[in-house]
Amino acid sequence: MSHKILHKVLHDICAQYDNNQHRMMDVLLDVQRCLKCIDGEAMNHIASLLGCTRIEVEGVVSFYSFFSDTPKGNISIYLCDDIIDRQAGLKKNAKAFEDALGICFGQTTPDGEFSLDYTPCIGMSDQAPAAMVNDIILPNLTPESIHLFIQALRAGTAPEDLDGVLGDGNNAHDLLRSQVHNNIQVRGDVLLCEVGEDAGLHKSLSLAPADIIEQIVASDLRGYGGAGFSTGDKWGFATATQDTERYVFCNADEGEPGTFKDRVLLTERPDLLIEGMTIAGRAIGSEYGLIYLRGEYVYLKPWLEHVLEARRQKGVLGKDIGGLKGFDFDIRIQMGAGAYICGEESAMISSCEGLPGEPKTRPPFPTEKGYFGHPTIVNNVETFCHVARIMDRGARWFHAIGTSASSGTKLLSICGDCSKPGVYEVPYGISVQELLEMSGAKDICAVQVGGPSGHLIARNEFNRKICFEDLPTGGSIMVFASTRNILEIVDYFLEFFVDESCGFCTPCRVGNVFLKERIGKIRKGHAVPEDIDYLKELSNTIIKTSRCGLGQTSPNPVLSSLNNFPLVYSALVNENEDGLDTNFNIQDALEESRHLAKHRSYIYDPDFGEG
């Protein structure tokens, strides 16, 4: 591409966003989509158009997985690589892609048509193995279907026109035409049952904002992202500020491996979500809402835009909502670009400001100083949906469901070794055992509750209950049969945290690498008892000194597996009888000299002289 055309393309893209540096994410997403690459020259030019420095642009480009400074293909394929996909046959699918395309992972075909990469959990663990092909999702892949898809793509079929069975419900809507399935297995009494159209919003219109917050407080609604902070209190903090420019953010960056329930809500209950956000706007006196949609869910964007526009037409979004003069509230969608950390509320705010997705220093908390320093409430998709239902049916109704400290129902994403993976809406307080029976899970040895940052529990704890007072979860429930390798699971989770740490603080950036290294040593059978102490001490340092929730929970897979599966470790750990340093690997150490000397070691290689 000539410089002139490149500059024209960049000029037009930046102009669409008023050359606003804070819309960096949108600019870069468009540039990546259009040029398949954001190289040094493009970064330089974007910087001059947005009035910032090239290094600021580069900081953002290099932070998010879906931006690339080397060319990706016209069709970019991201194969989902998480533990569920690995156990569902990732290797043979990966090989099918490589064979069909004639390239390895991380490469682009010489004609520039295809690129092939791995990406962590794309929110399809109930229909794994799955891949993203440009903007669309191909679930339930097999080596055979992969070859057919690539054949069709090579013949010029657009990814969205690839043959396949359309999903159920709104997945088959003209704006989605997606092969993704909802897999709703259990519909509870709050969100997945029939819900009245804007019933909560209409009741809220007659209430004073403070009364809305009072109802939410009375319902004991706790955030559904996993941490379980009181939603009413959060809103109260935001309204207690002097600053009247306030923001309502919806966290639709569902990135915890193994969870996909927000995907189903965004598909089947988008009106309820937006209704809940609108009620929040009224409650805290905000005119601006934002839905931060994870990059992997970009296929849902036209659908959500459509729902937003339909609501504006109906008068339940935009100006004078519901005929209430002066009640103005509108929402824009901010796309993410592949960064798990952006599910952390302050990292999400950074991303929306056009920055790398790094958490912010707290205090101040976002409710006091969030988006551009203004009070911002960030709630999960599921939380906002519940808000709308509470305002319709009342706090007492909601409070009566669930347990004493965990009101309401919870959407669980159950996946792994079960016959009925999918979304289950169940009251808080349900036991893990009940979930296993419901989902057709047999001969299970371990359940990961709450994703990698949660707890890996063993059979003796299957009577524990899903609720804040016992086993909290943002929604991810991964079940593992007794044939599964516990340490492979732990190793994968650590790899995930190493890849997804933002790198801002020392313990999370470096410590997780060390944890993974030592688990690798144990898996190889080289470990000694001191390695167990090492893992515990290192975990303690990472948890205690990390700046945000990622590092404060990333050692959990290690600690909970040590706690609940001690025999797995003791089977692999041996006393160091010869006294040699088990951390020193002579074979690794020799690699470089072998390479330089171009022959093998006389002492350490039995095949010396053979090559």
Partner: protein, 240 residues
């Protein structure tokens, strides 16, 4: 300090006075109580990324360079538990990069090295050495960057942005790949100048930013931390 010191709290039992808005570290500094730190330096905005200044506040760990001082806080700093956390963090920084003190020009002036001595880390530690392959940027006539020694403290980034008003440096990458990049293809491609605050000897705590042609002007053995333990200047201060 112009604002009145209306707050009092304790660090390791010692009563400290603080003005509203001050961080725990600022108040401690003024009271002559040194809390170890690497990414924080007077005159630059607080970042809280190295975590070496970790303290326990009312039983919870946090970074003292960003945590506001509050009335009646109970802060623990020099306890064995907190010291061990700091030791692990300093070790991590050593093992993450390539820090070869005997051949480094910054030896004796290096805050990382000095911090290790202060915390009694005097030998290789339990962590694996990462031995990363990192680049050397010698493109600029006056300045070289040996990123093997960079500890990602970001002091040069903040100095260039906030003091010099230039933005020569910035973070790039994520996770363990996070590093300090320059605003161009290399340093010579930027508007950096030897007189920038970002390049000043006190800005880079280690030997990453190198001023060409001025090495070894002070002999080893007579350098800053050869003569005093790091933090002794603050510990010499008194609030009264």
């Amino acid at each position: 300090m112009s604002t009145a010191k209306t707050l009092t709290f304790t660090i390791d039992g010692k009563t400290i006075q603080a003005a509203p808005g001050q961080t725990i570290m600022q108040a401690a500094d003024e009271a002559g109580f040194y809390i170890p730190r690497l990414c924080d330096i007077e005159g630059l905005r607080h970042q809280g990324s190295c975590r070496v200044c970790t303290v326990k506040v009312n039983g919870r760990t946090t970074s003292s360079c960003t945590q506001p001082a509050e009335q009646d806080q109970i802060v623990e700093s020099e306890t064995e538990e907190v010291l061990n956390l700091r030791r692990d963090l300093v070790r991590m920084l050593f093992h993450e990069g390539n820090h070869l003190c005997p051949i480094c020009e910054a030896s004796g002036n290096c805050e990382l090295q000095a911090m290790a001595y202060r915390l009694n880390i005097t030998q290789p530690t339990k962590f694996p050495y990462q031995q990363p392959v990192r680049s050397l940027d010698a493109s600029h006539p006056d300045i070289a960057l040996d990123t093997n020694r960079c500890i990602r403290c970001g002091r040069c980034i903040r100095a260039s942005q906030d003091v010099d008003g230039k933005g020569v440096f910035g973070y790039v990458g994520r996770g363990v790949h996070r590093s300090v990049g320059v605003n161009g293809d290399n340093l010579a491609d930027t508007n950096v100048d030897i007189t920038d605050k970002a390049i000043a000897p006190e800005t880079c705590p280690v030997g990453c930013i190198i001023r060409k042609g001025v090495g070894f002007t002070v002999p080893i053995g007579e350098r800053e931390f050869d003569l005093m333990i790091i933090g002794a200047d603050i510990e010499g201060k008194s609030d009264d």
